[in-house]
């Protein structure tokens, strides 16, 4: 059986484990319980954004989609992480758990031999590559924050700048 197909069948399990690992890493228990149980996306934007983002990343990974689709899903989560924690090492740590969760799923189904399979090695390389994309996305989001700070100050003083002949 192809690893790809197997992992597609296992999507629900993998996502659940990945989601809980992330929530547990990032939030105190009480918050984690809320973020993972409230299903209304408007009452629980963080939990739903994270879940949808992980799902997107996982599906794009298995479908081998191009980078911009992947970036969009990564952004869903990373935008949240950027405003919740300053350090990328903390904000991006969720990417590390995916490999281990996948390995364990596969070992459970196919035995330890799977670890040597070319297909798995290839998939793990893809995940490593993803981490680099995630670093770029994180960087872009932080830049956006700084750019917005500057733009806002300008907007808030629009007429003053105009009066001083600094803008048209």
């Amino acid at each position: 059986m192809h690893i790809q197909t197997l992992l597609s069948d296992k999507e629900a399990d993998v996502l659940r484990k990945w989601f809980y690992a992330l929530i547990k890493q990032m939030y105190p228990q009480q918050t984690g319980n809320f973020f993972s149980s409230e299903k209304d996306p408007f009452a629980n934007p963080v939990g739903t954004k994270i879940y949808d983002g992980l799902q997107g990343i996982y599906n794009h990974l298995l479908d081998n989609d191009e980078d911009d689709k992947m970036s969009a899903s990564l952004e869903d989560i990373i935008r949240v992480m950027v405003v919740q924690s300053t350090a990328p090492s903390q904000g991006l740590s969720f990417m590390f758990s995916l490999k281990d969760i996948i390995r364990n799923e596969l070992i459970g189904e196919l035995g330890k031999d799977v670890l040597g399979s070319e297909e798995l090695i290839q998939l793990e390389r893809q995940i490593d590559g993803l981490l680099l994309v995630a670093v770029d996305v994180y960087h872009d989001c932080r830049e956006k924050i700084y750019a917005n700070r500057v733009e806002e100050v300008k907007r808030n003083n629009f007429r003053l700048l105009q009066r001083a002949n600094l803008i048209d």
Binding site: K17, Y20, A21, K24, Q25, M26, Y27, P28, Q29, Q30, T31, F34, F35, E38, D40, P41, F42, A43, N44, P45, V46, K49, R79, V80, V82, V83, Q84, T86, Q90, S93, F96, S97, K99, D100, I101, R103, N104, L115, C141, K144, I145, N148, R149, E151, E152, V153, R155, N156, N157, F158, R159, L160, Q162, R163
Partner: protein, 530 residues
């Protein structure tokens, strides 16, 4: 191959400090999550205590020597003065109904942003020193000692509450955490722990009449820019009068509409409407600020800044006051002005000179909200509108906390929007009207150094906009608050790029058919209607 941990093991790795009792967890002053401290000059000009140079990130906050005494005395005085405070301190049963209703909690996941815990920050001190159980049982009764760390925690979390009152909507006892934050900030003020973005605008307003400290001649210049832009768009030269004695109506807008983009377009909308109606009104360079940053400082400061509106109306001999699209300005007018500085016996009950409508609701304050005024005009067919001029816009409406939750102004702006544009879409029910989500930057927290926290707190709002953006192609978020107009563009840019922000009267200005206008090809932003 190096052995990697199993997921179960991995899940055990915690990047968080170990779970501890909330009382023992100190806040971390991480940049982007706190606002700069007040400048000594601003405190001095307002006569507020303990002016000094300091920063919340310093170890030593340079508190006055007897700071504890000051806080206890301040709390005692307020418990006596505000029965609501005493009640709020005593009756919370910690049912948790409010816990997941605060946008700052939803956006950050920080448990101390749950309203119940925010209130507990003050309540724990109250319990220790003002209740018998607390005196005897201490921590077992949820009581704790007042220390400098507690003061730091108050500062951190009372300036992470936008006083939006969403939580109070869900509390079975009606406990209003915003009121607790207001008192918490007042107490902090007594020992000089306040933020510059609040005290400097308050000081400016006290001195010159508006938050930015714009002098009368500069204000007139800015109105002139508006007049020039209106001429370019419509071909009509309007002539607003300023500080004119004997005008029937004194119009007061938030000053942001005079100087900040995109508020300036809303200002154009007001002035075009007044011109078309031939209204007998005047602007004032002294009451040039509808907003009231005093509200975010203390009850006393709010009263001081608010009084200038009545003083100016009396000086000019106006019959009543028309107020622009502002948020907290209306909270002050609706909930406090009349008892603080009223009754304004020298004015008359407002009557629309165009339709003859008597504004019963404004009988006492003598102040009418511009959306009440305009929706009444539309209802009476008193203005001509071409809503197709806004056809390039797909509009949704953000209910600003202060006008929707604090004063119940919900239908008027919608009524106007439905007459000035053809594509209007509501966000989901549990994110609008009374249940609206705050912009994340209200109550004086709209400063740029607080950007990360603002983006986190604004996420629930932005998330609902994202929904209508994806579903209906919404490209404009309209609102009736100047702080919203200042902060939502950043929020949209971060979470929902492609959505602009406007006031409601900007869209009125676009649609308004004026006598003698040239063929209109440009909207108020000088962009083609196509």
């Amino acid at each position: 191959m190096a052995s990697t941990p199993k997921p179960e093991e991995l899940a055990k790795i915690s990047y968080n400090p170990p779970e501890r009792d909330w009382m023992d967890t100190k806040p971390q002053f991480r940049s982007g999550t706190w606002c700069y401290a007040s400048k000594p000059d601003s405190l001095k000009s307002l006569g507020l205590p303990n002016p000094r140079k300091w920063s919340p990130s310093d170890e030593d906050w340079k508190l006055p020597e007897n700071w504890k005494e000051i806080i206890f005395e301040g709390l005692r005085e307020r418990l006596h003065k505000f029965r609501s405070l005493r009640l709020f301190m005593d009756i919370c049963v910690r049912c948790g109904a409010c816990a997941d209703k605060c946008h700052f909690y939803l956006g950050t996941g920080d448990p101390k942003n749950m309203p119940v815990l925010r209130a507990e920050l003050l309540r724990s001190v109250y319990r220790k020193d003002f209740t018998m159980a607390g005196k005897i049982l201490g921590k077992f009764a949820g009581a704790r000692e007042l220390t400098e760390d507690v003061i730091k925690e108050w500062f951190y979390y009372f300036f992470q509450c936008t006083e939006c009152r969403r939580c109070s909507l869900f509390c079975p006892y009606g406990i209003d955490t915003a009121e607790i934050t207001i008192i918490g900030r007042e107490l902090l003020n007594l020992i000089g722990c306040n933020i510059d973005w609040i005290t400097s605008p308050a000081a400016n307003c006290y001195r010159t009449g508006n938050h930015l400290g714009i002098q009368p001649h500069a204000l007139v210049d800015m109105i002139d820019f508006c007049v020039d832009d209106i001429k370019e768009v419509t071909g009509i030269k309007i002539e607003p009068t300023i500080n004119r004695k004997g005008a029937e109506i004194l119009f007061i807008a938030p000053s942001g509409d005079v100087f900040a983009d995109p508020g300036t377009y809303t200002m154009m909308g007001y002035l075009m409407l007044f011109h078309e109606l031939g209204l007998d009104y005047t602007l004032s360079t002294y009451a040039s600020e509808g907003g009231n940053f005093g509200l975010f400082n203390s009850h006393e400061m709010m009263k001081r800044l608010n009084s200038k509106m009545y003083a100016e109306a009396e000086r000019l001999g106006a019959k009543w006051i028309l107020g622009g699209e502002c948020g907290h300005m209306w909270r002050v007018i609706h909930q406090y002005m009349d008892t603080m500085n009223g009754p304004a016996g020298f004015m008359e009950q407002p009557v629309s000179p165009v339709t003859g409508t008597r504004f019963e609701n404004a009988k006492s304050t003598k102040m009418v909200h511009i959306t009440e005024f305009t929706s009444d005009l539309i209802k009476h067919n008193a203005i001509k509108l071409d809503s197709s001029r806004n056809d390039q816009l797909r509009v949704t409406f953000h209910d600003s906390c202060n006008v929707s939750r604090a004063m119940g102004l919900i239908e008027e702006p919608r009524y106007i929007l439905n007459h000035v544009c053809n594509n209007f879409f509501e966000m989901p029910e549990n994110t609008i009207k009374e249940e609206t989500f705050c912009c994340g930057s209200g109550s004086g927290l709209n400063t740029d150094e607080f950007m990360e926290m603002r983006m986190a707190g604004g996420l629930p709002r932005a998330n609902a906009v994202r929904h209508v953006h994806d579903k209906h192609g919404v490209n404009l978020l309209s609102c009736i608050c100047a702080i919203d107009r200042a902060v939502l563009p950043s929020l949209m840019d971060y979470w929902v790029p492609g959505v602009a922000v406007s006031g409601v009267h900007e869209l009125v200005g676009n649609a308004l058919v004026m006598r003698g206008e040239k063929e209109r090809t440009l909207d108020l932003r000088m962009q083609s209607f196509e």
